[in-house]
């Protein structure tokens, strides 16, 4: 039952959209990129809402009440934490607000991964399985099978760039995913306050998420890595256009100086 709901609400719309874009463009990598942009545009209201929450947290942390609390309980971490959580509650601020866009992406990531893998069927058993997920009223079947090649990579396989003479494949996309995820995390994270529990959590996430995403891109089909990179770049552009990119956070040392 749950599987059917997931398939109906997430997989099938994604898969059919991807195939429809591919049937028009004839390039699956471009289809993934365009689809990612489309998804980011749809989730833009969530991004705006998260930004407002982040701004509210920043304003709260600049308030006199917050500053006084930091001084009063600086030697009592437990009490300080309790008071911080109380203040968060009173002012309706979510300390994990900067993590939300990334967390919301998880069902999208999983859904897109499944959609990409289904579309890139490489054996008959997978291809016949794909039939059951295509809307009967669409004509995307005429575009099958998907041409999974793009530049040097096969979108259905983990990406590696092989240079003649070197017996080692370079995971270019995985590196790009790691770098763009790191930059995106840094840009959308508000300047940290020393000793702030939420800030420590956010710092952990900003370190962990790029590594996780890089690992996923290294291990999974290249099509998913393309989604990660596109999503990260679009997010950076979104924040930059809204004037919300914290460029001062790009390098840790420069960020700490600003906080001081």
């Amino acid at each position: 039952m749950i599987g059917n709901i997931w398939d109906t609400l997430i997989i099938m719309p994604m898969l059919n959209s991807l195939l429809w874009i591919y049937s028009i463009l004839g390039n699956f990598a471009i289809a993934i990129i365009l689809f990612t942009i489309l998804v980011r545009l749809i989730t833009h209201p969530l991004t705006v809402r998260q930004l407002k929450g982040t701004q509210a947290m920043q304003d709260m942390q600049k308030s006199k009440e917050w500053q006084d609390m930091q001084k009063k309980y600086k030697n009592d971490k437990q009490k300080l934490q309790q008071e911080q959580m109380r203040l968060y509650k009173e002012m309706g601020v979510n300390p994990l607000g900067s993590c939300l866009p990334t967390l919301i992406q998880f069902p999208i990531i999983i859904g897109l991964y499944q959609a990409v893998i289904r579309a890139l069927a490489v054996v008959p058993l997978q291809m016949t399985g794909l039939f059951y997920y295509i809307y009967p009223f669409s004509n995307v079947s005429s575009a099958l099978p998907i041409d999974s090649r793009f530049l040097w990579m096969d979108l259905s396989l983990p990406e590696r760039l092989y240079i003649p003479g070197i017996n080692l494949g370079f995971p270019i996309l995985a590196i790009l995913v790691l770098v763009t995820t790191y930059f995106q995390s840094r840009l959308i994270t508000p300047p940290a306050q020393p000793g702030e529990q939420g800030a420590q959590m956010t710092q952990m996430m900003n370190l962990y998420m790029p590594l996780l995403m890089g690992y996923l891109a290294y291990t999974f089909a290249a099509g998913l890595a393309l989604y990660f990179i596109t999503s990260n770049v679009v997010t950076i552009l979104q924040y930059a256009l809204m004037g919300r990119a914290n460029w001062s956070n790009m390098l840790p040392s420069f960020g700490r100086k600003q906080a001081d």
Binding site: L96, L125, P136, F137, S141, Q197, Y208
Partner: protein, 403 residues
């Protein structure tokens, strides 16, 4: 703080879960390939890590290749040479093997290409790649072996495994070969391709005689059927059974529509074309008049009735597809559907014979294979990989690999 730790743990476990689904598609599973050898009393089953040699009378394993599991995967249907001495099959790394068919031996007579280390899992390009695997079985005619490799190469070999010619003049770089070619009495090969075209090739020289002028409406994954009036019939993923005139260089005349993808090649018998589609509809069409003689649906619904509402149209369809080529024996036509049913219909009116359909464990994709008075049904997703039934639907034996 506790909530944050729980959240972090949830993320870690979630990422581990996601990563457990990781990996490329190089070792993807497929449905089995089956061949029967009445002379040697054996059945050959290609599935997963082995090609199994099975006693036709008892269903017991006689041997397997390779003896120990390694990186190789086998799904393409094996084929016997004309003299019954060699068993020819390909693996997922693009290597073709010849084994002694009459007496099981663990070492191949030869491999093609001959310069690749068998068992390494590496294909002819040196890398573990999905691009040059064998999905379709070889066609054997006389002393020639015609092996369609996934990556758009049709190889013609002699019985010593030496290449006679190679054909790769396909329409695009994305021309994959998922089906065996058909051959007519004049020695012309008709090779269907996933690039939506059919290629006619001289089997002696490998010369391209003609190819479809334009897309036939969809990728073609099944071996075409030929009649004695220079007509070729092939189903495609555009839900169409196309009719091609082979005497006029591939001219296309009115085909026969279906409700869904036609995955396999049709069966042609006495002027009637029998085929199924992925919606579970089965058709008998008179090729002379173009009229449907009868239709049948796996789930008992009226073929072509379509979904009953918007909700059904946007939800995954029930998996009742017919993916294998039907088998005509006497007055009956046999086929299987994905939802574990083995059907026998009266081929004159499409009515199920008494006592049919038969429930078979697992999912069924491979078309029924006749072995004398037995019909062999390959199974997926169950411990039994193969079952043998008599023509009345009584199970005679099931094969389960030895541990």
């Amino acid at each position: 703080m506790r909530k944050r730790k729980l959240l972090l743990l949830a993320i870690i476990f979630g990422s581990l879960f996601i990563s457990s689904c990781a990996g490329g598609l190089g070792t993807a599973q497929n449905w089995p390939g089956v061949a029967a050898d009445l002379e040697n009393g054996l059945v050959y089953l290609a599935y997963g890590s082995h090609v199994y040699f099975i006693d036709l009378e008892t269903g017991r394993e006689v041997g397997r290749f390779p003896a120990e599991k390694d990186k190789r995967n086998f799904f393409a249907p094996p084929a016997l040479t004309g003299d019954g001495s060699q068993l020819i099959f390909g693996d997922s790394a693009g290597i073709l093997y010849s084994l002694d068919a009459s007496q099981y031996r663990s070492e191949p007579n030869w491999t093609f290409p001959s310069n690749v280390t068998a068992g390494s899992g590496n294909g002819s390009n040196g890398n573990d790649s999905t691009s040059n695997r064998y999905i379709a079985g070889s066609l054997i005619q006389g002393d020639r072996i015609f092996a369609p490799a996934l990556n758009g190469h049709l190889y013609a070999l002699n019985q010593e495994g030496e290449q006679v010619w190679e054909f790769n003049q396909f329409n695009s770089d994305n021309s994959e070969l998922w089906a065996s070619p058909a051959i007519d009495d004049d020695g012309v090969l008709y090779l269907p391709s996933m690039d939506h075209l059919i290629y006619a090739i001289d089997s002696n020289s490998g010369e391209l005689l003609w190819k479809s002028a334009e897309s036939l409406g969809g990728a073609i994954a099944g071996t075409p059927a030929l009649n004695d009036q220079s007509e070729l019939f092939a189903g495609n993923l555009g839900s169409l059974m196309v009719r091609v005139d082979t005497s006029t260089g591939g001219g296309v005349s009115n085909g026969f529509p279906a409700n869904g993808w036609i995955w396999s090649g049709p069966a042609y018998h006495e002027g009637i074309l029998y085929y199924g589609d992925m919606t579970g509809a089965f058709y008998a069409v008179d090729t002379a008049t173009g009229e449907q003689v009868w239709t049948f649906s796996v789930d008992g619904s009226q073929p072509g009735s379509g979904s009953s509402g918007i909700l059904e149209g946007i939800s995954p369809q029930e998996k009742i597809g017919i993916a294998g080529t039907p088998l005509v024996v006497g007055e009956a036509v046999y086929f299987v559907s994905e939802n574990s049913k083995f059907f026998a219909l009266d081929r004159n009116n499409g009515v199920p014979l008494r006592g049919w359909p038969v429930e078979v464990s697992g999912n069924l994709y491979t078309g029924p294979v006749q072995a004398g008075e037995l019909i062999l049904i390959a199974q997926v997703g169950t411990d039994d990989l193969l079952s043998a039934y008599d023509l009345e639907g009584k199970k005679i034996w099931s094969f389960r690999p030895l541990e």
